[in-house]
């Protein structure tokens, strides 16, 4: 017995000496470089391409996807000249070694087919390093809708590779401006988030300002001067029907929808005092939210609808405040130098975007909802009115600059900037543009 025990102990000692515990290494850092991605042109057979009058629709779709991904700042679409494999074969079975060679980490391929006046667009997303398909989807629509499909593909790819919702299949409403500053014609205009498909919603007879999208449907609220009286209007984009919001005995302005789209919150001014009101769009019931002998304006709801942020000059200088949705528990959240205005709550709920004026310059910035962590993203001579992308990563705003080389005239342009503050991009519009508002995603 003792012998066995001795032998057993010896065996244990022998094996223990030769076995090693698993080595663990903590990787807590990575790089933030844009992900190299190859967007192969979508393959279309010669028979189907006749529908598009020789237009290479496969390349066009891949171009839109590429631009979307590039503008997000998170992807680096690779040059098409370096692609070795033809689109049709790549879509069936990519030669991953070839794609690895050009440093692609992800690959998008696709195929287009036209059947009975409908277009069927199929796409696949490949993980080049893992050598496997990670997503495959197909869409059927009318041929004229191809840009929309390109945006949807961009959203799907963006979400699959970054982990957050995209914002490409969305629209922007803005005020289109033409003519000299004294006789400016302002029209409501709508376009895709990349600046394509511009349409005008008003004729320009009346002055329009501050259009805002409903977060739930395709309704827009805005301020319009009708018979020189500024009033808040509601417009259905699909039908073109518009109506006045509430029958207030004075000026109403700075409208915005509640997160559920059932209420409009706005400012109502009378005798030099302006307070914040809400109107229920179903019951038409009006509720006074603030009551203070100062100018309270630019209200914006938190995404859960429980809080409202607004700016007020009740402390002497215009600052940003947060209160409950019934007007109670008002707290000032900005205490920095300068004037703060146009607060907008992020769709994610964690940040408030704002415009700040300090020492003659205008800044677009973000801060936490308690006013801490203020970060100024961009500075310019004149810029304001930030609006969030549906995923809360990008802000759109407008900037006025001198248009001539001699400093004469001025032009208003739309710009976007992401939360890093480095990815600032001009959004091209046909005319001058101001007061942009970003819609929610068209397909969820």
């Amino acid at each position: 017995m003792k012998k066995k025990l001795f032998l057993f102990t010896l065996i244990i000692i022998f094996f223990a000496k030769n076995s090693f515990a698993l080595i663990e290494i903590d990787i807590t850092r990575g790089n933030l470089n844009p992900l190299p991605i190859a967007v192969s042109p979508l393959h279309i057979d010669s028979k189907s391409s006749e529908v598009f009058n020789e237009m290479d629709i496969g390349s066009e779709i891949s171009k839109v996807v590429e631009i979307n991904l590039l503008r997000s700042g998170l992807f680096n679409p690779l040059e098409k000249d370096s692609f070795v494999q033809s689109p049709d074969i790549a879509h069936v079975k990519p030669r991953f070694e070839d794609w690895k060679l050009i440093k692609a980490q992800a690959l998008i391929t696709g195929k287009i087919k036209i059947t009975s006046e409908k277009i069927r667009i199929e796409f696949r997303l490949w993980d080049v390093l893992a050598a496997k398909e990670i997503m495959a989807l197909a869409f059927t629509t009318v041929p004229s809708n191809w840009r929309r499909i390109a945006h949807i593909i961009s959203d799907k790819v963006y979400k699959r590779l970054t982990g957050e919702d995209g914002y490409f299949d969305s629209r922007i409403i803005y005020v289109s401006e033409e003519g000299p500053k004294t006789q400016r014609i302002k029209k409501l205009a709508i376009m895709d988030q990349d600046g394509a498909n511009t349409k005008y919603l008003t004729l320009g007879n009346e002055l329009v300002l501050t259009p805002r999208f409903s977060p739930t449907n395709q309704m827009v609220t805005y301020l319009s001067y009708f018979k020189n009286l500024p009033r808040v209007y509601l417009l259905d984009i699909e039908t073109g029907v518009q109506e006045i919001v509430g029958d207030f005995p004075g000026m109403t302005f700075a409208p915005r929808f509640s997160p559920d789209g059932k209420k409009i919150i706005m400012s109502f001014a009378k005798n030099g005092n302006s307070d914040i009101f809400t109107m229920n769009l179903e019951t038409r019931e009006v509720e006074k939210i603030t009551e203070h002998p100062s100018i309270d304006t630019s209200p914006s709801y938190s995404p859960d609808g429980k809080y409202i942020t607004f700016n007020s000059d009740r402390s002497g200088v215009q600052q940003i405040y947060v209160m409950r949705n019934d007007g109670s528990d008002v707290k000032r959240i900005t205490f920095g130098n300068g004037i703060y205005g146009t607060p907008v709550w992020s769709p994610r709920g964690d940040l408030i975007a704002f415009t700040k004026m300090y020492r003659g310059a205008f800044y677009i910035g973000v801060m936490r909802t308690d006013g801490s962590g203020e970060r100024l993203l961009t500075e310019n001579y004149y810029q304001e009115a930030p609006s969030w992308s549906p995923n809360g990563r990008v802000l759109i705003f407008y900037r006025e600059t001198k248009s001539g080389s001699q400093g004469e005239g001025f032009s208003a342009t739309l710009w976007s900037i992401d939360l890093t503050g480095y990815n600032e991009r001009l959004i091209e519009t046909i005319t001058d543009a101001s007061d942009p508002s970003w819609s929610s995603l068209l397909t969820k």
């Binding site: 515990a21 290494i25 990575g30 964690d350």
Partner: protein
Amino acid sequence: MNKSILLSVFFHISIIFVTALSLPHMLKKPIDLPPIISVELIQISDITNIPYAPKAKQILEKIKKEEKKDRIVSQQAPPKMVKKEKPDSIPLPEDAKKEKKKIQTKKQNPKKIETEVKQVSEFEKKELFDPDQIAALIDKSKIEKAETTRKSDKVTQSQEKNSLTSALTLSEEDALKAQIFGCWSIPLGLPYNENLLVRIKLKLKQDGTVIKSEILDHIRMNTPGQGFYKVLAESALRAIRLCQPLRVPTTGYDRWKDLQLNFDANEMLKG
């Protein structure tokens, strides 16, 4: 008469000569030569062995959790490069003495060094804090006592584990980490307030290429509401594939043929 004069002159000259030679030398302070210390040059990789300090990690996590409770952080705040504090960056005066001791021990029994040379993190040091030690640092008479106390506290449970688990040297681990840092593109849209830790077990070839990779918490991949985990896990796997062959040591294959990489995106995304 002449003889005595000559003798007197001779003795006077001798005295002047001796004085001229010895007096300047006497004015100078003697050179204070430090005691001779014998130094042996050794390869750092022979003795360095980064201890994995789970105790310190636990404390770090606890602090992080407390911080999380206190602040509302931006979900999209730009990720910040957090500079890691190196433990033991400030050497204590007694370190020098210890170092000397270690080298001497190595001469006699090199194998012992692996268990002797321990790097104690700042957090563990705090736990071992003893006011007597500070006093001892000031008062040389207490050195002996402080050393003894430290020694008795030295072998903690966690350290005992360290000596077994961490088999890569400081430079080996750093090289591997640096390589993977460069390959890992962190998906920026991940919700930073969730647990963003992906543990991947690797089986490696001798040249550092991966034979097999296994996600240890793969159940989370298909858990509802944890869709982001799949994105994160895939990004980690991409990093490993991109980095292949991994920068592993040229020797001791048995030590590192099985390796676990813990990818944690929280630190980067919280900023």
